[in-house]
């Protein structure tokens, strides 16, 4: 009995991150709340190191796919790409949270530790190559997220959000687990590779297996908050402390969508004809509901919740295509989405008046006069979310629609672009408030250097993406193609 070292090397970033979070937990236990900021910065450093590890060839044999830890764990380009996005998302939102937590009196070291643990879970999700490792990593992520949602424990809305998320999340996990057991029962294995091999031949599949797949899809749809499993999203987004909402809308979404892609095109890739209609429906429903339900929102966090539902709908177009082009579309979409959303939430975090956080959309009125730079940044993010060129959001939508047309999903594409016009209405409404209306009073200054940095970085990425789209698109193209040939 011996464990070869390279086996562990494959999971080096995850192992490092897990170890770092434990070390920081101990540090936090000894240092107490006063060290919250230092620990948060250390956590950011850990994320950066993990990013470097993912990017370095240290833990894998070149770009090709590598299965490790007795088949439970897979390392490939797709995973590395998604992991990097998750790490960027976590790091950006962690930086944004520091000052907010201090102001609200919830600056505790546990916050950074929980974010790190959740991130570890997300990275393992992305690397899962077996139904069991899928479930375990998903739970590691989810449990950390439940706690983070309720992190403002003296706040009624926050605790309610945490509880709601926990109860509904547990239900979804249950469904996913049940689906996994059905798949195991009918296929006789939990390994993705074996499953993929079984279904590659095509032929008829038993109804039990289909039910299992659908239940797994339901569980994952819940995690990415796709319609009709989105009910928790607006409440949790509104109730959770704002930096947590920012975090929720970025990193876990990337991880869950990457996992969704991994499961659907990996083990069940041969059955694309069976599950495509399911994804088709969730995609359409998410886009439409996200577009129409957001129109009447008056709370900016709720609005962003519906916006994120709609965005998941667009990303799922790529999955419905079920092709390399589709996966490329999803990856491009997610990468751009991370920056758009992190930026938009950075502005939302700046919405403080007289020392109190405000969340009403109308509080943004006249922002272009009271705080022109902030208004310009949010304007860029809103036009980008609406998908208007030359902002990055246009490219995000372009690549998923390219995939849809390529697979002849014309109806899906038409519904997609039409709902994006509806969606443009509420993004424009924010621009209108900021630029057309009279000021409602200035926000507190200064907004903080960390948030400024996040804002500038995201705004530059979103605005100047059009000049060098190849940097991202070519990478996404390569890893997506590898997912299908490998």
């Amino acid at each position: 009995m011996h464990l070869a070292l390279p086996d562990f090397m494959a999971a080096l970033p995850e192992i490092f991150l897990a170890a770092a979070s434990l070390a920081l937990l101990i540090l936090g236990a000894f240092q107490g709340d006063k060290a919250a900021r230092e620990i948060a910065w250390l956590a950011v450093a850990a994320l950066v190191v993990a990013f470097a590890l993912v990017a370095s060839p240290l833990h894998s044999h070149g770009p090709e796919r590598q299965v490790a830890l007795y088949g439970l764990f897979v390392v490939d380009g797709f995973g590395a790409f998604s992991k990097m996005l998750v790490l960027i998302g976590s790091a950006l939102t962690l930086i944004m949270a520091m000052r907010f937590n201090e102001r609200e009196g919830i600056a505790r070291p546990e916050y950074a530790v929980l974010v790190l643990l959740a991130t570890t879970g997300m990275m393992m999700m992305i690397a899962a190559n077996d139904l069991i490792s899928l479930y375990v990593s998903l739970e590691l992520q989810s449990l950390a997220l439940y706690v983070v949602a309720a992190f403002h424990r003296d706040d009624r809305r926050s605790t309610e959000a945490g509880l709601k998320y926990f109860v509904l999340g547990a239900l979804a996990s249950g469904m996913l687990l049940y689906g996994a057991s059905m798949v195991y029962g009918f296929a006789g294995t939990t390994s993705f590779d074996t499953l993929a091999h079984q279904f590659a031949q095509g032929g008829t599949v038993s109804i039990g297996l289909i039910i299992g797949i659908v239940l797994i899809a339901v569980g994952l749809a819940f995690k990415v908050s796709a319609v009709p499993f989105h009910m928790w999203t607006p409440d949790v987004y509104e109730g959770a402390p704002t930096p947590v909402t920012a975090f929720f809308s970025v990193a876990p979404k990337v991880a869950a969508l990457a996992l969704f892609v991994r499961v659907m095109v990996g083990p069940f890739g041969g059955l694309v004809a069976e599950w495509r209609q399911v994804i088709w429906f969730i995609s359409v429903a998410s886009m439409l509901l996200g577009a129409f339900a957001a129109i009447n929102q008056s709370n900016i966090k709720r609005l962003m919740a519906y916006s994120s539902i709609a965005n998941v709908g667009y990303a799922l177009i790529g999955l419905a295509a079920g092709s390399a082009a589709g996966v490329r579309g999803i990856l491009v979409y997610l990468a751009i989405y991370v920056f758009m959303n992190a930026g938009a939430f950075a502005v939302i975090l700046c919405m403080r008046r007289d020392g109190k956080q405000v969340e009403g959309i109308n509080d943004l009125a006249g922002l272009s006069r009271t705080h022109p730079a902030l208004a310009l940044a949010l304007g860029i993010f809103m036009f980008s979310l609406a998908g208007i060129p030359p902002m990055a959001g246009f490219f995000a939508k372009l690549y998923v629609f390219l995939a849809a047309i390529d697979t002849h999903l014309y109806v899906l594409a038409v519904i997609g672009v039409l709902s994006s016009v509806v969606g443009a209405y509420y993004y424009l409404r924010i621009v209108k408030l900021m630029y057309f209306d009279e000021p409602a009073g200035a926000f507190d200054r200064p907004i903080g250097r960390e948030i400024q940095a996040v804002l500038v970085i995201s705004a530059l990425v979103v605005f100047f993406f059009f000049a060098w789209p190849g940097l991202l698109v070519d990478g996404a193209n390569a890893v997506a193609a590898a997912l299908f040939t490998g």
């Binding site: 208007i388 246009f394 390219l402 594409a413 039409l418 016009v421 209405y425 424009l428 630029y435 789209p469």
Partner: protein
């Protein structure tokens, strides 16, 4: 200068002005003044550049000239490509011509957020010129749709009382059309294998597919033109936009639709164009007659001119789809003429609006008595809009009708009725505003044109008369391109028929 990337230069020069304005600091007064001057100089240099391009343009060939290429997304065969032919040349010049006029026209009438205003106009100029120069579909689309952002802000920030409604209506209407075109562009991309417009123009699309693609492009261009019945955003946008916003809207943005029809719909989808020609004729004729009647009943000057724009653009779409050399040349001249004339008419409205702050026709009357210079300028443009021989409007309408007459007498007949109505509403407007006795004290107190307004109007009058008296200057560069276009459409239709016969 032979190796200079002239088109990129003329496109992106305004952005340099934007950066210059952005870094302005100091007290509000100075910033506003400097912003105006920077915007004026940038747009004037850009105008000179565009004139240089015109001077160096070879009018004997139908090929694209000044072609530039740079890698953008080589893996996807998407490249940054620019180039112009006879059709796009004049739109580039028109855009560069109108922008400095807009800057001057807004010199004193815009008092708040001058810096942002000038930035918006310069960005708009870049996007407009870039759109006419683009030779790659995605580059084209980015410019085409990007125009919405500055225009939305111009209407919404500096517009009238119902500006929010008008800005949203403008944005969402146009966006709805464009996104369908985006899907069509993607489909074209998969058919052709690249987004090179030149390649797509020479590609033979399957006749069945052509119809769908044609409809998707039509959705976008028809809203832009705008054709009846999707024109309703235009009166709202015009009425609420600031004067210079209306000028650009009528002068250039509407032409993007007509340009799209000539550049894409006809050569790429010749069979579908033939199939849908009756539809276009019907909509055009309805637009000409219906909107002329509506214009007759308007109380608001800007609204009246807005409706007259719809009618004039109806002549354009009719001319384009005759696919005759007269019709297409007429449509082109009509677009250029309308670009100058309607822009000038909006400026005329702006002149009196700046003085009295109302656009209600009944509030004026007898203006000729105390504003003779104004009355003269207004008259020239009014007559050009009516299509008086000797003005640009006549050449455009006459040629377009000639083309229509050769193909379909009834269409020509109805369109001509519309023109009679056009004379009616314009003369009626002129009589109510300019002639008569002054009965109102505030009208009597109005001052005649100041030198800045004269500086704006003189070049426009010159262009209108030049185009009307010696149109050959403008027609000559057009002819090879249009001849080539008609030839390729005809030959494609013939092969299409042969396919059908077999």
């Amino acid at each position: 200068m032979d190796n200079w990337p002239l088109l990129s230069l003329v496109t992106f020069l305004p952005i340099a002005g934007v950066f210059a304005i952005m870094i302005l600091r100091g007290n509000a007064e100075d910033v506003a003044r400097n912003a105006r001057w920077i915007a004026l100089w940038t747009s004037l240099i850009d105008l000179v550049l565009s004139l240089i391009i015109w001077a160096r343009f070879d009018p004997t060939t139908s090929d694209f000239q000044f072609v530039e290429q740079a890698e953008w997304l080589p893996q996807f065969h998407i490249a940054y490509q620019m180039g112009i032919d006879g059709i796009s040349l004049f739109f580039v010049v028109l855009s560069a011509f109108l922008t400095p006029i807009c800057v001057v026209a807004s010199w004193t009438s815009i008092k708040v957020r001058v810096k942002e205003y000038m930035i918006a106009f310069l960005v708009l100029e870049t996007l407009m010129i870039g759109m006419f120069c683009a030779l790659d579909f995605f580059v084209f689309y980015m410019f085409f749709e990007g125009v919405l952002i500055p225009m939305f802000l111009i209407i919404g920030v500096w517009g009238g009382p119902r500006r929010v409604y008008a800005a949203f209506k403008f944005f969402l209407y146009t966006l709805l059309g464009s996104v369908l075109m985006l899907l069509a562009i993607i489909t074209v991309y998969f058919q052709v294998g690249s987004t090179d417009i030149v390649e797509a123009l020479n590609f033979n699309f399957d006749p069945g597919l052509q119809k769908w693609l044609w409809l998707a492009f039509f959705a976008s261009f028809a809203v832009k033109v705008p054709m009846w019945p999707v024109h309703t955003w235009l009166p709202d946008a015009h009425v609420e936009a600031p004067t210079a916003g209306s000028v650009i809207l009528a002068g250039v943005l509407l032409k993007m639709g007509g340009y799209g029809f000539i550049r894409f719909s006809l050569p790429m989808f010749p069979d579908a164009s033939a199939y849908f020609t009756p539809l276009v004729y019907t909509l055009s004729v309805v637009a000409v007659i219906y909107t002329s009647l509506v214009a007759l009943a308007q109380e608001d000057m800007k609204k009246l001119i807005a409706y007259s724009s719809v009618a004039h653009m109806g002549i354009v779409t009719m001319g384009i789809f005759t696919v005759t050399s007269e019709g297409l040349q007429g449509a082109m001249i009509q677009m250029l003429s309308h670009g100058v004339v309607s822009a000038a008419l909006f400026l005329c409205v702006g002149v009196v609006y700046d003085r009295l702050h109302t656009r209600e026709i009944a509030r004026y009357g007898g203006v000729v008595n105390n504003m003779p210079k104004y009355a003269f300028c207004f008259m020239v443009f009014m007559l050009a809009s009516v299509g008086l021989p000797g003005t640009s409007g006549f050449i455009g309408e006459f040629l377009a009708l000639l083309g229509a007459f050769r193909v379909n007498t009834w269409v020509a007949f109805f369109a001509t009725t519309g023109m009679i109505l056009g004379a009616a509403y314009m003369l009626y407007l002129y009589r109510r505003v300019v002639f008569g006795v002054i009965t109102k004290d505030d009208v009597r107190a109005m001052l005649d044109l100041n030198w800045r307004e004269i500086v704006v109007f003189v070049p426009m009058i010159a262009v209108v008369l030049w185009m009307g008296i010696y149109p050959d200057t403008f027609l000559r560069p057009l002819q090879p391109t249009i001849g080539n276009l008609i030839e390729s459409v005809q030959s494609a239709r013939d092969t299409g028929h042969r396919f059908a016969a077999r």
